[in-house]
Symmetry: C2
Subunit: 341 residues, 2 copies
């Protein structure tokens, strides 16, 4: 019975100043309400951890709807329907949706989508076939507009967005340079994903290495980190470069603007004289293309043309530390929490 | 005879550091060579002075091909053919082209285009029907993409680019706010050009006035100045704002980056979270649309739907001081030098 069940959930205990710390989160138990007509009870199987969630923790100023203190953290999940009073959802159905960091969720079905376990492992609905995959696909194709022979640079290249951006770039005939943290990720990016070159951003010689890796300059930079990777990319961008801006994870915990000089004027001059296109986006901006995305990426997956990698953390209790590590680039592949089997 | 003629020309005498000064220019006389087969001798009637020419004076780093020391300054002109050994150009033809700050020019015809004096006064080929007009038309329509009911803010609103941007914005149903320097220009912008509001950027309360003038925020900012106008616009830009960047005249004579803090990270965060599109362009990027531009703007002119204003300086000798004033916003309308009658 629903009324006897207890959900575990992770709530926002305090707002971080700078980098999040474990004490900003609290695990608590909450009784589940009795299921009303039209509702389902979902058991969370997989919780996706993504950098944008850092914005939820702040007191406004981000496009992510912030989480109130004491409320459960939000996130994309894959769940199993374990009780149903909903006409279209039956016990045993697997669904994805934008829910919470919790073991059980009561839902009226809004925003839930059935996941077909025959297409790919169900957790792929949170990665290559989900929000990160759609981000990569729509941002690269609409804003990056890759052309045969162009040079594409991708930051966070072993992550769920970057890895797909680079592989789609290769499918479009680009020379693809990935930037990742550490030798193991770099090896994965070239040997498994097929990027032309991978560079380690932990190496202080990144600017020189990037210059050598891009003898014809950079035509597309898929920006999802900012920081010193952007600083290395900036002087190498060609005329008519396109810069889809989908994340700035290096800055999510900044506590104020950096010291000067003020580089904004120099940036705008470069935008002008080199005719760059700089465009920010979030995945929902391109929702009309979601079926194109699912069709193409499913086909590429089934044809073996693209690969992906999950980084799995066991148990909801470990989500906060995993999230803190994510913001420092400690994940290797799509970071998922296995909440229950 | 050609060989007996002398041209007067203005050459780059020294490169400015910061704002150009009169001694950076020198007027000199140069004998004209004998006309060869295929050449024409042009008498310059009108010389256009435009902010981009500031880039010519620097030692590289601008998209404008720089002028070498001792060489004549370059610019768009309207000229009369006074001698011809060219098959398609006859004495008396009026042509425009990218030539020099000089009274007579020998040309092989490359880049010359016949100007029809029946469509508009021939000097319009340097303004509303020329490069500035095409800049306004293509930048606004391709990058700004004005939609009914949106708010468009235009800097340098009484100038040749800004005045047309705002008028085209009105034709597309936008609420148009112009920014100009001084009460007289502001009056012209609203009373003659039909902008909804004009604000004086010389007033220190510009940020507050702009906020009041844009209660629904700003959807399009046509950037052609930078500086404190941009600073006032930045916090008011809406989600999905478009920012065509066609000039940064406030910064053309900067001698180094401004002091900190460094606003570039905050800018990129705004690009991301508000999903702005920032795109630099120069007029030639949209040359395939030149016939659309000429057709539409000619029709609007003839229907009385758009207006323009010239600011005329008499005599080539006065071009340097007029150009120095242009960079300080002292012109009122399209700045033209009447080189000869």
């Amino acid at each position: 019975m629903t009324s006897s069940r207890i959900a575990e959930q992770i709530v926002l205990a305090s707002r971080p100043r700078g980098e999040p710390r474990p004490e900003n989160f609290k695990m608590q138990q909450t009784p589940l309400p009795t299921l009303q007509p039209g509702q389902v009870l979902l058991q969370t199987l997989w919780l996706s951890l993504d950098p944008y969630m850092r914005g939820h923790m702040d007191d406004g100023g981000s496009y992510s709807p912030r989480v109130q203190l004491g409320e459960a953290m939000k996130g994309d999940t894959v769940s199993r329907v374990v009780e149903s009073r909903h006409a279209d959802l039956k016990v045993g159905d697997i669904v994805d949706g934008y829910n919470f960091w919790e073991t059980f969720t009561v839902s009226n079905g809004t925003g839930l989508r059935k996941v077909d376990p025959d297409v790919a492992p169900i957790s792929a609905a949170l990665g290559v076939l989900g929000m990160p995959g759609q981000t990569a696909y729509t941002g690269l194709l609409n804003i990056g507009r890759p052309k045969e022979g162009e040079t594409l640079v991708v930051a966070a290249a072993s992550g769920p967005v970057g890895s797909l951006v680079g592989q789609i770039g290769k499918l479009h005939g680009c020379r693809v340079v990935g930037v990742a943290g550490g030798a193991e990720k770099c090896r994965y990016v070239t040997e498994e994903l097929g990027f032309d070159i991978a560079l380690d951003h932990l190496d202080t010689s990144l600017p020189e290495q990037l210059r050598c890796a891009c003898p014809d300059g950079i035509d597309i930079y898929f920006e999802n980190v900012g920081g010193h990777v952007w600083n290395a990319v900036f002087p190498l961008l060609n005329d008519f470069a396109r810069i889809p801006v989908c994340g700035l994870v290096a800055h999510y915990s900044d506590v104020g603007p950096p010291d000067g000089p003020d580089r904004l004027v120099a940036f705008m001059r470069a935008v002008l004289t080199k005719r760059w296109t700089v465009q920010g986006f979030i995945v929902s901006d391109f929702d009309p293309q979601i079926e194109d995305f699912r069709r193409d990426v499913s086909a590429w997956l089934q044809a073996g043309k693209i690969k992906y990698r999950d980084d799995i953390v066991e148990g909801l209790a470990n989500a906060p530390m995993a999230f803190i590590g994510l913001l420092k680039g400690r994940n290797f592949g799509k970071l998922l929490v296995r909440v229950s089997q």
